[in-house]
């Protein structure tokens, strides 16, 4: 199987103070489809995800070595303009964090900071991406009310729309359903499946069944090390490593 890659990681090490969170990770992330990072909690899944758009930068005492190449460009190069990298990727975090403004402004926030001032165009963008995340019908009559009034599930879909509105190529999702009820979780999962033709979606999860429902490609991390990665069927049906097998059986979690 041939993959064209947006993101490739080369010998990535991340330290928080004396603790090493990621150990010498090297991997090419395939393009398009849903890539799921699995592994027990505290194994570095989130760190790996956040190193893709350099959000780990702002943590105190963090040290990074190695490279993350996005479209062939090492994003840890100090000369790189980090906002441009981040614009290529939408982030969905564990808990939805709507910005302290209206529903409309939440979605329009990204386009606005990138210079879109045309009201009509903004209106079109907002509607388009709210439809894309399946929220439009529920909020179209109250676009001006504060986003904090939405239910948690709706907030998460709003965050998805907000992320999509900057037209990223990649969606990063950090356990995006862990704060949601089953119905809202299904909404989010459905959105991912709908979007996977057009975006590279990288999802961190510790729910194995969710991984099985979503994944086209699986990355298994354990204590900061990359144990195994490959197409979903391969990893789930026929893992090469003993550790992966044990994890799948629920022996280590």
């Amino acid at each position: 199987m041939e993959f064209k890659t947006h993101i490739s990681v080369r010998n990535l090490n991340v330290f928080y103070g004396d603790q090493q969170a990621l150990k010498d990770i090297t991997i090419d992330i395939p393009d398009k489809g849903i890539i799921v990072i699995i592994g027990p909690s505290g194994c570095g899944k989130t760190t790996l995800l956040k190193s893709f758009n350099r959000l780990i930068d702002s943590t105190d005492g963090v040290r990074v070595s190695g490279e993350v190449l996005v479209d062939g460009e090492n994003i840890f190069d100090p000369k790189v303009e980090v906002t441009r990298i981040r614009k290529k990727m939408g982030l969905l975090s564990q808990n939805p964090y709507p910005l302290p403004m209206s529903i409309y402004d939440n979605v329009a926030y990204g386009p606005r900071i990138h210079g879109q001032k045309n009201k009509k165009e903004l209106g079109r963008i907002v509607e388009h991406y709210l439809r894309e995340s399946g929220l439009w019908e529920e909020v179209k009559d109250r676009l001006r009310s504060p986003a904090s009034r939405l239910s948690v599930g709706q907030q998460q879909r709003l965050c998805l729309a907000r992320g999509l509105a900057v037209e990223p190529e990649i969606i990063l999702a950090d356990e995006p359903t862990s704060a949601l009820d089953p119905k809202s979780s299904r909404h989010i999962e459905e959105s991912f499946l709908r979007l996977k033709e057009r975006y590279t979606t990288i999802v961190v999860t510790h729910i194995l069944r969710q991984a099985k429902r979503l994944a086209d490609y699986v990355i298994f991390l354990y204590l900061g090390e990359l144990i195994e990665h490959g197409p979903a069927e391969e990893i789930f049906e026929n893992p090469r490593e003993e550790m992966t097998r044990e994890y799948m059986k629920g022996i280590i979690s």
Binding site: N53, L91, I113, G163
Partner: protein, 297 residues
């Protein structure tokens, strides 16, 4: 043996309870005490007359507080205008931009600023700020000023309220969830855009509370202002005019007040007014801050 321990426990509990209630009520006791002593003057003059008359002639029995209230407002206003931009920029810098190293070095220095006694601020004001205004700033505007002025008071007060505003607003910034910044940054916003549109917006009520706390501290500050503001009982009309803020009035006349009838009552009424204003601002600010804290949890 055990019953003795339990008795001790219970007895101590009672004593501690009483102390707690008493110190909780202290602020009311203070207000009542001051009110009792202000009654003689309130019995013959209406509060309105006292607050809005500009005539201050204790020997003739005229006690108009307006010049002093205006003096306080002017000095406080100047201080706040100077302090707000500097403090906000600094606390944004310290909580959003600065490395931990810079933060750990800066914080104790700002604490130190808070620990300097107000007389020292006064001495510094007399030595540095007053001559600066007299020799450089006033001539710049083509006027004469002795230097002892609202501007001098405002500058000194601004420095005195830096630590409060910075401390409280930094705390408010810290309470803004990190994930909110992440959300904005991941959309490709610059750090400043994130601060401007997200952090400041979320922190706004708390920041206003911080400024109000600073403002009320400036309003009640005594010695430093007394030393640099000039103390002329006239409603000021420019920042280069001298002013006679309320706290300075109280502190400056402790000598005479027992020899002139009603003078002590007038000064204690002034203290009561001061207390009322400061309480008003403090209660509002604290309620806002408690709300902010709750909304985070």
């Amino acid at each position: 043996m055990d019953s003795k321990r339990l008795l001790k426990d219970r007895l101590a509990g009672r004593v501690m309870f009483v102390l707690t209630v008493l110190s909780g009520l202290l602020v009311f006791v203070m207000a009542i005490g001051l009110y009792q002593r202000s009654r003689p003057i309130l019995a013959i003059k209406s509060l309105r007359e006292l607050l809005f008359s500009t005539s201050w002639h204790p020997l003739k029995g005229e006690f108009g507080f307006l010049p002093f209230i205006m003096g306080s407002l002017w000095v406080t206003g100047v201080a706040v205008v100077i302090a707000i931009p500097l403090c906000l920029l600094t606390s944004v810098y310290l909580s959003e931009y600065a490395s931990r190293y810079v933060r750990e070095w800066t914080k104790p220095l700002i604490d130190l600023l808070a620990g300097i006694p107000s007389v020292i601020y006064g001495v510094w004001g007399v030595l540095v700020v007053v001559p600066l205004i007299k020799d450089h700033i006033a001539p710049l505007f083509g006027t004469f000023s002795s230097g002892y002025s609202i501007l001098a008071g405002g500058i000194v007060l601004a420095i005195m309220v830096f630590p409060i505003i910075i401390h409280v607003s930094s705390e408010v910034f810290r309470s803004v969830p990190y994930e909110l910044r992440e959300a904005s940054l991941s959309l490709g916003a610059t750090k400043w855009q994130t601060v401007k549109y997200v952090v400041l917006r979320k922190a706004m009520p708390g920041v206003i509370a911080a400024v109000v706390l600073g403002l009320s501290r400036a309003f009640g500050e005594t010695m430093a202002v007394l030393m640099v503001a000039g103390n002329v009982a006239k409603v000021p009309s420019s920042v280069l005019d001298p002013a006679y803020p309320l706290p300075a009035l109280i502190a400056n006349n402790y000598g005479e007040m027992l020899s002139v009838p009603l003078y002590d009552s007038a000064l204690l009424l002034a203290s009561l007014i001061l207390l009322a204003v400061v309480l008003f601002f403090n209660v509002i600010a604290r309620v806002v801050l408690i709300r902010v804290e709750r909304s985070i949890q």
